[in-house]
């Protein structure tokens, strides 16, 4: 019996994914529960396992996009062992870019044209052919991600793709005539090649979200600086005992999260967001912590952070960081969040203006600690200082609140006992 292997429903907001890697080949005999394929969605990487044993025939190839419910492969549960079923890859779906952009689709049976090309709207088809750009490398903004003529124009104008020379006559005529080798021309500098790689789903999604945040919110950033002397001393005093007892290092992140929660309690709008004509205030504190993963920045969320101790916070963040590196975070762990803390300091950043993580209304940026001369009580002294930044949505957070918020963080971190006492 043939059983279909479909793209599973991996989470509420996930509708599609890209086949990252097949762990098996067509014709392989797979056992139930074997990992078949790694799918990359915009939130995380998921592994799909075999629900039955049998000989597999792969339908969707690596790099192809699949929607939830799409058939990715089929399993012949009657077949035994390596009676190699032939790979059923239709010849036409092989990427053959060079030929593809020059040949107009045959006038009669359009079904033989590569899928991507024949699925285009007439104008998008015309302009990709005329300019010789590969439609599969352009992100579509039309319904369900379809490519529009405007997408192709924007793509070419952004310089992401130059029209291929000679792809048609009109185009060839407009190519500049070759210039004599001069200083700076490629003749002297040697080959200057470019490399093109499709954006990963996470990259694409991040790009979209960042632009969306910029478009919808009125983002403003306010700065302050923090004298880290006390908290560094505290850390030095207890880091060995802490490590011994909890098995994780005592970092600064937990102090900033604690301080942020105090500040969020004082300024509830910072923990809220806009939904339609309403402001949603949250009386829980789900703090997103930006960590880098093997596929870009991800923001797992520490839920109800207000209920966690310093040790529990450090453990949660440490665990997320580790699993992010391995691409093992689950989608649930990366959705939600009412506020975000991002530490650019780990990469050496001295100052930055973080972008909001929509629909959240604010994000705290931590930075590198640097010894600087500062004036304390009329004396110039050297202190370990950190700049902090709060980017916020001015639509719901006033300047006064944002400044007060950072001051509150500054006070709490400079004098951690305030967190304990709650003042």
């Amino acid at each position: 019996m043939a059983v279909e292997v479909k793209m599973p429903n991996v989470g509420e907001s996930v509708q599609e994914g890209v086949i990252h890697k097949w762990r098996v080949k067509s014709g392989d005999f797979v056992n139930r529960d074997d990992v078949l394929v790694e799918l990359e969605t915009d939130k995380a990487t998921v592994e799909v396992v075999a629900e039955n044993s049998g000989v597999i025939t792969i339908v969707k190839k690596q790099g192809e996009t699949v929607a939830v419910g799409d058939v990715m492969a089929s399993l012949d549960t009657d077949a035994k062992g390596s009676t190699a079923a032939k790979e059923s890859t239709p010849a036409s779906s092989k990427p053959s870019e060079k030929a593809e952009v020059k040949l107009p689709p045959p006038p009669t049976s359009s079904s033989t044209a590569p899928a991507a090309q024949s699925d285009l709207s007439p104008a998008a088809r015309r302009i990709t052919e005329e300019l010789g750009v590969n439609p599969s490398q352009i992100v579509g903004t039309g319904k369900d991600g379809r490519l529009t003529k405007g997408d192709v124009i924007a793509h070419v104008e952004s310089g992401s793709s130059k029209p291929q020379s000679g792809s048609n006559q009109a185009n060839a005529a407009s190519q500049p005539s070759p210039v004599k080798a001069s200083l700076g021309s490629s003749a002297i500098l040697g080959a200057r090649s470019e490399r093109r790689e499709p954006m990963s789903m996470i990259r694409k999604r991040t790009a979209e979200r960042l632009v969306k945040a910029q478009e919808t919110a009125a983002i403003l950033t306010t700065f302050n600086e923090i004298d880290m002397t006390n908290v560094m001393k505290l850390r030095n005093d207890y880091k060995d005992k802490f490590k011994e007892k909890y098995g994780v290092g005592l970092g600064f992140m937990s102090f900033f999260m604690k301080a942020a929660i105090e500040a969020l309690k004082t300024f509830p709008a910072v923990n809220g967001w806009i939904e339609g004509n309403e402001i949603v205030y949250h009386d829980y504190y789900d703090i997103g912590v930006a960590v880098s993963s093997n596929r870009g920045l991800v923001v797992p969320v520490v839920r109800n952070a207000e209920r966690l101790s310093v040790a529990e916070l450090e453990m949660a963040v440490g665990d997320y960081g580790k699993r992010a590196k391995d691409g093992k975070l689950t989608i649930d762990e990366m959705t939600g969040g009412t506020f975000t803390v991002s530490n650019g300091g780990v990469f050496g950043s001295l100052m930055s203006t973080p972008i909001l993580n929509p629909p959240q209304s604010a994000i705290l940026g931590m930075h590198k600690i640097q010894e600087r001369p500062v004036v304390v009580g009329g004396q110039i002294v050297i202190r370990p200082m950190m700049y902090v930044a709060l980017s916020y949505d001015h639509r719901i957070i006033d300047g006064r609140e944002s400044v007060g918020f950072l001051v509150k963080i500054k006070e709490c971190v400079e004098d951690p006992s305030r967190i304990l006492v709650g003042v």
Binding site: A123, K143, T148, K149, G150, E275
Partner: protein, 466 residues
């Protein structure tokens, strides 16, 4: 009493469509309607009966004024208003009964009566057949629609001579002189019906154009065409008073600062519609209405009480049946935990005069105000072979596209069957089509639709037949 997953209050396009969709999604649904029949304003006293009368009157008008050009002579031409009304009523009752069947088929409980909130989880229904009952539900959807705006102090409705659209659909004889207050969709449609059947029609409009929210070019052309058909317009004029004066009515209005009057036998006040929530008991659940009567909702159609939602004429947006039913479907899907969505940029707007007017997306005026860079392609029906065969050459198709991306951002048609033609461009907008996409799609010849292809080509200044 029964405990429902969702109760729709109001059985108009928003409510009954939403209820059907919710039923399809396996929810336990009820729909409460006080009118005695389903279909709301649209089926009972709106879209459908008005279109029935528009068709009857247009048929008469065609025979009377256009057949001779085709070489068809008819001796004595007569019409019977009673038969026109009977036909209209037959269509209405057929369709409303049909909806009852659809609700049954989708396992929706139809409750006849007027609903009022007792508390956020309970409504009390004053049953049409007497008595009352209470129902509880996990979700409520307010789909109570709208009612005509009355100018109570200067032209109060009397149900007979100074009337709303509802009564203008049931005049038992053709008025001698009908004054229409308001040159909007309903005013021009109802004015057209009675004008075609022989009434003198005068339209008083405070603004300086007809069909105010439509594209400027459409307003100008429509006024010209209707004037040619015999409609009189008093634009930039303000109604001051309409009152009985002996056997007729006296209408006083202000024109360029001077007070003038005229005499007529019927006044149709068609100055708009107001969201309707009378007797709904919103005060018992703490939902406020705005000054204009509408209920504020978020993008999930939730009111300030999250499990009570609202859709259709009672919330923001154009008061259109197909907007209401799209929202009904979306709200049912959202309640069932699915992603429901309405694309407000791709909702067509139609005026069923003859020729018809249809549009989708932005008007040129809106784009100018927003500073958007755009291109326009405009082709008259005069240039179209089929339109000439029909003998219907008034009007044009105007397509507006983004100057850079060529994406269609607005389309405006006046012309024969514009209501049907617009569907192509609605799909275009929905799929982010460029004007070139339409220009490169084959359109059957000869058809009216070819004007749209030509207009699309004209956006790029390369119309072939104009």
């Amino acid at each position: 009493m029964a405990n429902f997953d969702v109760v729709f209050i109001g059985g108009g396009p928003a409510g009954y469509t939403g209820a059907i969709r919710a039923g399809q999604l396996g929810l336990n649904v009820a729909c409460i309607e006080s009118r005695g029949s389903l279909g709301g304003t649209c089926l009972n006293v709106g879209c459908i009966p008005s279109k029935a009368l528009l068709q009857s009157s247009e048929n008469y008008h065609q025979v009377k004024h256009k057949f001779s050009e085709h070489g068809i002579q008819i001796g004595k031409l007569e019409f019977d208003v009673a038969q026109m009304l009977k036909r209209k009523d037959g269509i209405v009752s057929g369709l409303t009964k049909g909806i009852e069947g659809l609700l049954k088929k989708n396992k929706v409980t139809y409750i006849k009566g007027k609903a009022s909130f007792v508390n956020p989880n309970t409504v009390k229904v004053a049953l049409t057949d007497g008595g009352s009952e209470e129902h509880t539900a996990k979700n409520f959807v307010i789909s109570t629609g709208s009612s005509p705006i009355e100018l109570r102090s200067i032209a109060p409705f009397d149900g007979k001579d100074i009337v709303s659209s509802t009564e203008a659909l049931t005049f038992d004889k053709v008025p001698e002189h009908l004054v229409v207050v308001g040159a909007g969709v309903i005013g021009l449609e109802m004015g057209s019906v009675w004008m075609r059947l022989g009434a003198k029609v005068t339209v008083i409009e405070a603004l300086d154009r007809v069909l105010p929210p439509m594209d400027g070019a459409v307003s100008v052309e429509m006024k010209k065409i209707l004037e040619k058909q015999g409609m009189n317009f008093l634009l930039g004029c303000k109604l001051l008073k309409a009152e009985k004066s002996g056997k007729s009515l006296k209408v006083t209005y202000e024109q360029e600062g001077k007070s003038k009057d005229l005499s007529c036998d019927k006044v149709l006040v068609a100055v708009g519609r107001r969201a309707y929530t009378d007797g709904l008991g919103l005060e018992n659940v703490g939902i406020a209405t705005r000054k204009d009567g509408k209920i504020d909702v978020n993008h999930h159609y939730q009111t300030s009480v999250a499990h009570i939602r609202a859709v259709g004429d009672v919330i923001d947006g154009p008061m259109l049946a197909h907007k209401a039913d799209e929202e009904g479907v979306a709200v049912a899907e959202l309640i069932a935990g699915k992603p429901g969505h309405v694309n407000y940029q791709a909702i067509p707007n139609v005026v069923y005069t003859w020729p018809e007017v249809a549009s989708v997306g932005s008007t040129e005026e809106e784009l100018k105000a927003k500073g958007v860079d755009y291109k326009v392609g405009k082709i008259p029906f005069m240039a179209n072979g089929r339109a000439r065969c029909f003998g219907e050459t008034d009007g044009f198709v105007k397509i507006i596209a983004d100057a850079k991306s060529d994406k269609i951002i607005g389309a405006h048609i006046i012309g024969p069957n514009a209501s049907e033609l617009i569907a192509e461009l609605v799909i275009g907008v929905e799929f982010s089509a460029s004007a070139e996409d339409i220009g490169r799609s084959s359109h059957a010849h000869p058809t009216l639709a070819e004007v749209m292809k030509e207009a699309a080509l004209a956006v790029d200044k390369r119309a072939l037949n104009f």
